[in-house]
Amino acid sequence: MAAIETHGLRKVYPAPPPPKKRGRAAGPPGMGGPPSAPGAFGAPRGEIVALQGLDLEVREGEFFGLLGPNGAGKTTTIGILTTRVKPTAGTARVGGADVTSEAVRVRQRIGVVPQRPNPDRALNALENLLFHAAYFGIPAAVAAPRAGQLLEQLGISDKAHAKVDEMSGGQQQRLMIARALIHEPQVIFLDEPTVGLDPQTRLSLWEILRVLHNEGRTIVMTTHYMDEADKLCDRIAIVDHGQLLELDTPASLKQRAPGGTLVEVTLAGDAAAIVDAVRGLDGVLRVEAKGPLLRVYSDRGGRVISPVIQIAEDNGAAVTNISLTEPSLETLFVSRTGRKLD
């Protein structure tokens, strides 16, 4: 049986109130911004379609990655699976329990690490853990040693009695992980857990996540870092515009990436004018133009760059920017979504 299953999951946010003020009235929890462009996907004007028929299956004990750009619907998916967002249509089950009709049963099985640390600031670090345990019916006598162990494991035991505000962003994020684990959930959700962390803290978080995974827990993590998904996840779902684009192991996904190095050239004028000329070059596998942006997939690495520049200049269009990406999850992502992640 799958740890998580969704069928035809759809979420449409009602039109936000007239834009007299900035900020959302009652948007999805933890969202960094609106989930996607208003009016997209043929929705009535003003409505925001965050998910359109998402089917996912996460296996027991799997480290599952949800990869997609901002606004792809990742946070909404996590919101629904953690019972904090009501789906407009479709079903989702976590550990066999339905997220809408059996929300309490779902909550009992899950731990959630939010995108932005949201500790209880009126309590110190240890109290945060002990009270969270108490909300799950775990008495302090049982929770206290477990909390001590978690703080130790996460390297913040010296902060046990510190006010949350005295902790750095990275330490608060670790506290969020400890909080998500204190009641020993079967499924752990992490929403962009490493955003805003320094590289060192990010690496140590990766280590912690690997340990959790080895303990046999099911982990669902959203990220927009390719390397993170690649290194940690058993399987990755690439989502964009609220739809599943690809779902496979990182290795198979990379094999599926279009051959060759991706060379992106930005021109001062319209790139479409030189597509045919570039296509005729040696080593060019595929060419796409999008406004001033020219995407060239080359099996001869960066060697196509200079003839491309030559063609552009012969056409009177100056080159303003060039970038090179080796075949990877990223080139697959760009070829499937038409845009880069960051």
């Binding site: 049986m1 999805p28 009992q108 500790p119």
Partner: protein, 267 residues
């Protein structure tokens, strides 16, 4: 059954409720001094001027104190019960998202809101218990003050704090965080001044229109009820009317508060 589908030991809702309440009591204890200053400063200052200074200067008749004291208690009760729910709600849902750890607790979302309202009621009780002795000290002996109707006083404080705490839940979850300042000037201030806290309702006989308009104000019933229970010599509404009105008002605010909380909690 495998690990994920096996049902974890179910938690009793009451266990979670009391854990939530314990959290709020601990936080309230940590912040007791700030809480008392925030919610009782206004009524106490009013008390000093109108209950102590003006009578001493002979600008006020002595009997005014008996009408004022129950009103001051009603003001303290309303300010503390409303604020101790509304302010955390505005903060939690608006910026800090702190409440999310509680929203993940394995209980119904409504129970989490109910606990907040109960915690607000407790703080309403505390502020009344704090202001009453200070008022008595400041004003000296008050003719007609009786503590023999303790049961009635408790019942009014209970219903009143339930009404105001539920109102706090409604305001705190329905009003945009940017408009919270407006809440005080547009809702709370008129409620206090047209709540018959500083004069008995009977006194409004002189402006009959106002006398009936103020009946939508929950404050009126708490102030009048307190008069009926603490200083029965002062003209006041019958207590039975007070009870019925407070039950209806509390029920209404409770319903709206619960609905607004749910809307904010579940996207």
């Amino acid at each position: 059954m495998n690990a994920t589908t096996a049902d974890p030991h179910p938690v009793r809702a009451s266990t979670v409720f009391f854990a939530l309440l314990r959290r709020d009591v601990l936080v309230a204890r940590k912040e007791l001094a700030f809480f008392l200053v925030r919610t009782t400063m206004q009524p106490l200052l009013f008390l000093i001027v109108f209950g102590y200074l003006l009578p001493k200067m002979n600008f006020m008749a002595k009997g005014y104190q008996a009408a004022l004291l129950p009103g001051i208690l009603a003001v303290s009760l309303s300010l503390s019960a409303i604020q101790s729910v509304a302010l955390p709600m505005v903060q939690d849902f608006g910026w800090t998202k702190e409440i999310e750890d509680r929203l993940l607790a394995p209980v119904s979302t409504q129970l989490i809101a109910a606990e907040k309202i109960v915690a607000g009621m407790l703080q309403g009780f505390i502020s009344v218990a704090f202001v009453l002795p200070i008022a008595r000290l400041l004003m000296g002996p008050i003719s007609g003050l009786t503590l023999s109707h303790g049961g009635e006083v408790l019942l009014i404080v209970l219903l009143g704090s339930l009404a105001f705490s539920s109102l706090g839940m409604w305001l705190g979850t329905a009003i945009a965080p940017q408009q919270i300042g407006l809440m005080f000037s547009v809702i709370i201030a008129p409620m206090l001044f047209f709540g018959c806290a500083y004069y008995p309702w009977k006194g409004l006989d002189v402006v009959p229109v106002l006398k009936y308009v103020v009946l939508v104000n929950p404050m009126v019933y708490v102030a009048e009820g307190m008069r009926g229970a603490l200083t029965p010599g002062v003209p006041h509404m019958p207590l039975s009317v007070v009870y019925v009105a407070l039950v209806v008002i509390a029920g209404t605010f409770w319903t709206f508060g619960m609905r607004a909380f749910y809307k904010r909690a579940i996207g």
